[in-house]
């Protein structure tokens, strides 16, 4: 998946759940836009779609704090 694809997939994921992300830089943690169960579902969705695996040490709040942060995380981990 390209970085563009990852971004589109994340946006679509939250749009489908009625929780559109207002801005790529908005702090999702402080704003409460999504909850922790949403995060776990998202990780499952992207790991399956992108055929990648996110190690435990990368499962931090900062890596999921915003859309930009998540795109960076998954784009870095996608297979070459």
């Amino acid at each position: 998946m390209s970085e563009f694809d990852v971004r589109a997939a994340i946006l679509a994921f939250f749009d489908e759940r009625g929780k559109p992300i207002p801005d790529p830089a908005v702090d999702l943690f402080d704003s409460g836009v999504i909850d922790s169960m949403d995060l776990i579902e998202l990780v499952a969705h992207l790991e399956a779609a992108g055929q990648l695996d996110i190690p435990q040490e990368f499962m931090t709040v900062d890596n999921f704090r915003s859309l930009d942060a998540m795109v960076h995380l998954f784009a870095e981990r996608r297979p070459a």
């Binding site: 922790s36 169960m37 776990i40 990780v43 996110i54 435990q56 709040v61």
Partner: protein
């Protein structure tokens, strides 16, 4: 004042002994005794006999067979035999279904963001929609993300404390969590839980977080359970005992003293 680890009839408990009323502290899904650690230092609970329980299948206590809620309550029931001490049940989230089965020996029930009405079932609704394989995969992911989940869902500022709380996710199994979540969901939706609460005339207090969705269900709770009291902990979400321990334990201590006066 520290907790002393004991075992009673195969149930692991952490106890801060006291000569006053006994408080049975029952955690929610994925949790264990450590979610009530701050209770020992709470001035409002001074002198009370605190028992923080690892419910069967969580923490250090072995799981039980079906029917899971009845069996969990059966294992915990001996802890309610406080002798001359009155026993109060403090039930967080899914533990409402356990506490509801222990009301006959209790002097009162304190529901902490308890799963009592269908709107409280967001988590178990989701888990119920997953088959065993899908849930096992998600559970594994949840365990990897446990510290992130604790940070996202609570207002605990101390990183070491969050790491401690995250340990409870490693001590339960996907099978137990799924069985309990499905049973709790059925317990509420079928009306069985409400039936238990309605059948017993005893003092009840519901504590909810001001930042939680549970506050919106107060009116319905008051209608279904006349006489139920309510306390809102403004600075808290779904984990009042972690987010605002002093205020939460003040509410509990005041309620217990009022009932016993």
């Amino acid at each position: 004042m520290t907790w002393l680890h004991q075992q009673c009839s195969g149930v692991d408990i952490w106890r801060r002994s006291g000569t006053g009323a006994r408080l049975l502290l029952l955690h929610g899904l994925y949790g264990d005794h450590r979610y009530f650690a701050e209770a020992a230092a709470a001035e409002a609970l001074a002198g009370m006999d605190l028992l923080a329980v690892d419910l069967p299948g969580f923490g250090a206590t072995a799981p039980v067979d079906e029917p899971v809620l009845d069996q969990m309550a059966r294992k915990v029931r001996p802890l309610c035999a406080g002798g001359a001490q009155p026993v109060f049940l403090v039930a967080h989230s899914m533990a409402s279904s356990i506490a509801a089965r222990l009301l006959d020996p209790a002097a009162g029930l304190i529901s902490l963001e308890g799963n009592i009405l269908p709107p409280h079932l967001k988590v178990s609704d989701r888990l119920k929609g997953l088959d065993a394989t899908a849930f096992a995969s998600e559970f594994s992911r949840l365990q990897r993300m446990a510290e992130t989940v604790v940070k996202w869902e609570t207002r605990v500022a101390d990183a070491e404390r969050r790491r401690d709380l995250a340990q409870s996710y490693q001590l339960c199994s996907a099978d137990t969590v799924r069985r309990v979540a499905v049973a709790v969901n059925d317990d509420v939706r079928s009306g069985v839980l409400a039936g238990f609460l309605s059948a017993h005339i005893l003092p009840m207090l519901t504590i909810y977080g001001g930042a939680s969705e549970y506050g919106g269900t107060q009116a319905e709770m008051a209608r279904m359970f006349p006489g139920m009291e309510f306390a809102c902990i403004a600075a808290a979400g779904h984990f009042p005992m972690l987010d605002a321990p002093a205020q939460t334990y003040d509410a509990i201590g005041n309620f217990v003293r009022k009932v016993l006066s």
